[in-house]
């Protein structure tokens, strides 16, 4: 198994289709294959052991990903938003390495002896001129599947970032298990706005190549550019993180309010997948209203599981939205059902499976699940299970409800309180657009619950307002008194990283003065 096998099939099956870029002038699947072959030759010279890229999305991204696979070198997409020092430190960890950088950014890395910096544009120009060898390309990539295809540094909210290792067999299993070869019609196009260093950005390339779907790249996300690209490139599907969808919904609402030419409509869009964090229910409900023709898909997965392991499909979204039954409605906030090739088990702290419906840690098993970090022992159990450190429960219909990172659980008076359930109640209030609950030190209870709440603008359509006491009462009535926030603080915005992950550690620091300073 090798990622190149996917591209070889694409080039053989529909080589004339456009793989990346505009319908006119984009790179075809055959051209992508040829460029990858040339890139492999380039990457093999000089003794590099990995190919890294610290750059926004461009055609150089899939070329380098597949070129590295062809050369049997791991591909490492690095976060180009890191500081120069942080980037240099990661480069030193993966050296000897080739690092592809934006032409404007080639000076960002410290002078490291065994790191070769390649200018993205110079590389693209060189590869475009490379000739197919006499007698055609040899398909000489490694098919054993054990080699590392992609190394992804996790966001590292605590301590030094870990490098998750995805082997060729993990990623190929994911694609074969979830994507139909040439399943896309010729007019389909996928808009990729998730950055390359997010597992969803990598999975989007692989899945769409195998499906034969043209990839349109948005290098830096903003809602206006995203909406424009959907319209001008006639995009039919896209994947976004929750913060992106919130801004897209706001943008479309503003168009409707202003009477702009786009009129809040995205006529070509048929499918919109979202994932990578908890979706505020008001956002998804508004999105469903604004885009009634669009099939919404909620994808849940982790870097260590080669992207998606569970999904909530289009019909399940509509059923949940239309239902009077609160248990069915709650599925709108669920991750849906596991993929056919994935098993999910909810375990307690001892690793024992809990009874159906009870909360615990989400464990997953399947051929796409890696659970490995570079330089560390594999995290998989002897039976192949990966403990995700995400909390959740399965309901009676098999829907997976994810409550958040176990490490974020608030322990108040010996009781475990999941921030996710409090947040879900708070954002139900029409005056609340976003909310986060954290635990802060408390001598008496161990931790006290502090909720940071973002209110809708006073001039927004909802027109609603709310007091801290009303929100505390809302949580008390919907959950239990021990879930009630001890303090509600109204804030202008919550801290997110650029892939939409809430930075709870930052929030804890910002709100530290609401704790009592005790450490127990």
């Amino acid at each position: 198994m090798n990622l190149m096998m996917l591209l070889e099939m694409a080039a053989g099956g529909f080589g004339d289709r456009v793989a990346v870029g505009s319908r006119d002038g984009g790179l075809t699947f055959q051209q992508l294959f040829d460029r990858a072959g040339a890139a492999a030759g380039r990457f093999r010279t000089g003794g590099a052991e990995v190919v890294a890229m610290a750059d926004v999305s461009s055609t150089a991204l899939p070329i380098s990903l597949f070129g590295a696979a062809w050369a049997d070198l791991p591909f490492v997409p690095l976060n180009y938003r890191l500081t120069d020092d942080e980037l240099s430190a990661l480069a030193a960890r993966i050296a000897p390495a080739i690092v592809v950088l934006d032409p404007e950014a080639t000076g960002r890395l410290a002078d490291l002896g065994d790191v070769v910096v390649l200018d993205r544009q110079a590389l693209l120009d060189e590869l475009a001129e490379a000739l197919v060898p006499d007698g055609g390309w040899g398909t000489d990539w490694d098919m054993a599947g054990e080699g590392t295809a992609i190394l992804l540094f996790t966001s590292g909210t605590t301590g030094e970032p870990k490098a998750a290792m995805l082997r060729h067999r993990h990623l190929v299993s994911y694609v074969l298990g979830s994507v139909e070869f040439m399943g896309a019609a010729e007019d389909e196009a996928a808009l990729v706005s998730v950055p390359p260093y997010h597992v969803a950005g990598m999975a989007a390339l692989l899945s769409n190549v195998y499906a034969g779907r043209r990839i349109v790249q948005l290098p830096t996300f903003d809602a206006g550019s995203w909406v424009d690209l959907v319209r001008t490139e006639e995009v039919t599907s896209a994947m976004v993180v929750p913060t992106m969808l919130t801004r897209i919904v706001e943008h479309l609402d503003a168009e409707l309010a202003n009477g702009s030419s786009g009129n809040g409509a995205l006529p070509t869009l048929r499918s919109l997948a979202y994932g990578g964090g908890k979706m505020p229910r008001p956002t998804i409900e508004r999105a469903l209203q604004l885009l009634p023709e669009v099939a919404f898909v909620n994808a849940y997965g982790l870097t260590e599981t080669s992207s998606t392991v569970a999904l909530l499909g289009p019909q399940e979204h509509r059923d949940a939205l239309a239902s009077d039954d609160e248990a069915v409605r709650a599925r709108l906030g669920s991750a849906g059902r596991p993929l056919p090739a994935i098993e999910v088990s909810i375990r307690d702290e001892d690793g024992t499976e809990v009874a159906l419906g009870l909360p615990g840690e989400i464990w997953v098993r399947g051929e796409q699940v890696s659970g490995e970090y570079r330089g560390q022992a594999p995290r998989l159990t002897a039976e192949g299970w990966f403990p995700t450190r995400d909390g959740g429960r399965l309901d009676e219909a098999g829907f997976l409800h994810v409550t958040g990172r176990i490490d974020d659980v608030i322990v108040k008076g010996g009781q475990n309180v999941s921030p996710g359930e409090i947040e879900a109640v708070l954002v139900e209030h029409p005056a609340v657009v976003d909310a986060a609950a954290i635990g802060l030190p408390d001598r008496q209870w161990g931790e006290r619950i502090v909720a940071a709440v973002v209110l809708a603008d006073a001039d927004s359509t909802s027109g609603a307002s709310v007091t801290a006491e009303e929100l505390q009462e809302l949580v008390r009535s919907e959950l239990r008194s021990n879930r009630t926030p001890d303090h509600v603080e109204f804030v202008a915005a919550l801290p997110y990283n650029d892939t939409g992950k809430l930075l709870r550690r930052v929030l804890r620091t910002e709100l530290a003065h609401f704790g009592d300073g005790s450490t127990e």
């Binding site: 054993a144 979830s178 994507v179």
Partner: protein, 119 residues
Amino acid sequence: MMGDALERWPDDHAQESPMPDMKPGSRFTSNVCTTEVIVVRGAGEADLRCGGSCMLSAGSVPDGGPPDPDAAAGTLMGKRYVDADDTLEVLCTKPGDGSLGLGDVLLELKEAKPLPASD
């Protein structure tokens, strides 16, 4: 599994060479049509056939004439084929006129319910 494979192995020793290893990632090409496959799941040796004739290791030149009429329904690019015991799974990377088989028993098309695009 070995027992099964031996039972399927014809007594008349139609094969001269030993059966190939079904290591994941191994590529095979049909002796009677344009079909090519990659082993996705498998272990040990097996009598992988296409169009009734033993498949060859990739790169070999077919010389076996037309497919056996009992194994001529064809293969489809990008489809996965499995044996009844679900011990062997191959992915068709080039389509052809022959049908895949393990010994005399045809492999089945692995029907997967299409999933909505999630990335």
